[in-house]
Subunit: 339 residues, 2 copies
């Protein structure tokens, strides 16, 4: 898009390209006399010179870019994560290259190839289902990669994620404390670490306390509002009496379930308590405002970015996994069971 090159600038000033290159580079500009540095800088300005990252990358073996793969850009939870990533990266002069996979394994494979062809210096991915493990392990051989939000246990890929087991436990403990003894959980896709962990954390806490835990799964690919409705329907058709409290694996599922329950004549929290997960925007504006689990998305993004950076520099052992603590946000969708 721009056609004026370093050579043009150099000729304009009457110096060699290498001098111009030095003058314009931040770390080597001290090797050049202040006067020529100034002249080169001015010439670059007046000629409208822009460095060519491609050429620079080719020569230096580094592009200064980080591939950022996001599973679902419409997930409101992802915004803060991306901001955290972008902030940490741009603070280090790196350019994040974001791409989406719609949580599809095929698209993930394609995107990885493209990113690798772009010679990104590292990859951060929030996409990664269990079935993608082999793929990502192969990618990890070619360069630094870190998982964000999700984990791929046994893959050896470092991850920054939430402590979803603890999150599930928080939900369970809250409901148990309210006095619920018959609980259900509406589960997200089973081949995603986060949901499996939430399920585990919740189930263990419930059974440990002597409660009953009904696990509802559905063959849905994504944890959406519709999935929530479907899971709720399955729960309503479930043998045995209806539980008095429900843990939905994310807010969308919770809201879908709420809508289905309402249709069925069930009031929340009077007839059924509902806990969501993620604390996405607007959950506090619903009717009723949703009790949910909040996660530090921004912080997570920041840490993920820092982790790739350190593994690019090669100074770090790269199998680190960090789990961030979730927080229970109590609102009005949970209450003691009707006596």
């Amino acid at each position: 898009m721009a056609r004026v090159t370093l050579k043009d600038v150099a000729e304009y000033v009457g110096v060699n390209v290498s001098t111009a290159s030095r003058a314009l580079s931040s770390d080597r500009s001290s090797l050049v006399s202040p006067s020529t540095r100034r002249r080169v800088t001015e010439a670059a300005e007046t000629l409208g010179y822009r460095g060519n990252s491609q050429a620079s990358a080719l020569r230096r073996g580094r592009t200064g870019t980080i591939g950022v793969i996001v599973a679902d850009i419409s997930n409101p939870f992802i915004g803060p994560v991306l901001r955290g990533v972008a902030n940490a990266l741009s603070g280090r002069g790196l350019l994040p290259i974001m791409t989406e996979t719609r949580d599809s394994s095929e698209e993930l494979a394609q995107v990885c190839n493209k990113l690798l062809a772009q010679r990104v210096d590292g990859i951060i991915t929030t996409a990664g289902r269990y079935r993608d493990r082999a793929l990502l392990k192969k990618i990890a051989l070619e360069g630094p990669i870190v998982l964000a939000v999700r984990q791929l246990p046994g893959s050896g890929i470092p991850a920054i994620a939430h402590d979803d087991v603890a999150g599930g436990r928080l939900a369970a403990e809250h409901l148990l404390e309210l006095g619920h003894t018959r609980l259900a959980q509406l589960e997200g896709p089973e081949d995603i670490w986060s949901f499996e962990s939430r399920a585990t954390g919740f189930r263990e806490a419930v059974t440990k306390a002597g409660g009953t835990c009904i696990d509802i799964q559905a063959a849905v690919r994504l944890p959406t509002f519709e999935a929530g409705r479907e899971l709720a329907s399955k729960l309503l058709e479930h043998d045995g009496s209806m539980p008095t409290a429900v843990f939905a694996h994310n807010d969308s599922i919770a809201i879908g379930a709420l809508s289905r329950f309402r249709e069925h004549g069930l009031r929340c929290p009077d007839d059924v308590s509902v806990v969501g997960f993620n604390d996405v925007p607007l959950t506090d504006q619903l009717n009723p405002p949703l009790t949910t689990i909040r996660l530090p998305g921004y912080e997570l993004g920041r840490l993920a970015a820092e982790l790739v950076v350190t593994s690019i520099d090669g100074t770090e052992s790269t199998t680190k996994t960090v789990l961030l603590s979730p927080e229970l946000i109590v609102r009005e969708s949970t209450a003691p069971p009707a006596s």
Copy 2:
């Protein structure tokens, strides 16, 4: 990240790099004998060869990348737009490089520079306030750029946007038909085309019908929930009687206003009708479900992508502006005024 080059592949097979290059390129592979083509392809496979986009771009003068600048990644309306863009682009073998500016002019300038340094073949931006006009005009000199969602009238930059004037008018007509005569609008930032147009469309329709239109502005940078609360407060303190209907310039503002009205003891739609804008997810799950204006985001993204592509190919007159039609979605936040 990968270190096996075309040369390695060529040597492995025993041919010249140029032959290997041809064999691996989709358009020139016909120039090579089927047998060597196969051998090269296999060698590339076994050696784990990945093309180097940097080198290829340097040589060809094209990177095959498109910079996609988004003002606010957390805006739920933007997801479909980005999908439309990504789809249209990847269908043409182009890689979108997404970046965010948080709707800040400084970040916009930075991001443009980085993208230009990356030698993107074109730029699509949803960021662009009036004050960014000069900047973007300068960018437009260096290569194809198209605005999406927003417009910059008088900049000569082609745009794919919604017909926001029509959107404002739709809102007005709906409320007028319900019998409202005293209306207000809660306005988004004034230096953004979309909001100014919504204001115009609404105001004109109201006054044309003989109604009263109260325009409430606030010095907020972003059209958020908080902004909605602030605007609503200003309206409540406004001299003269409270209007019976309110048009909020987007859903977040509407929801903020709803929350403020509720605090103030006003019921919706009984005491005040509210219309939002964008139809973002969950607006139908609010209390009350929000009447709003829906926009074809995916389609918009698709068209924007197609427009950059054609202007890269240079075949198109590049000052085209397309306006897509909004649609009124009536839900329960609007009703006839209390008699």
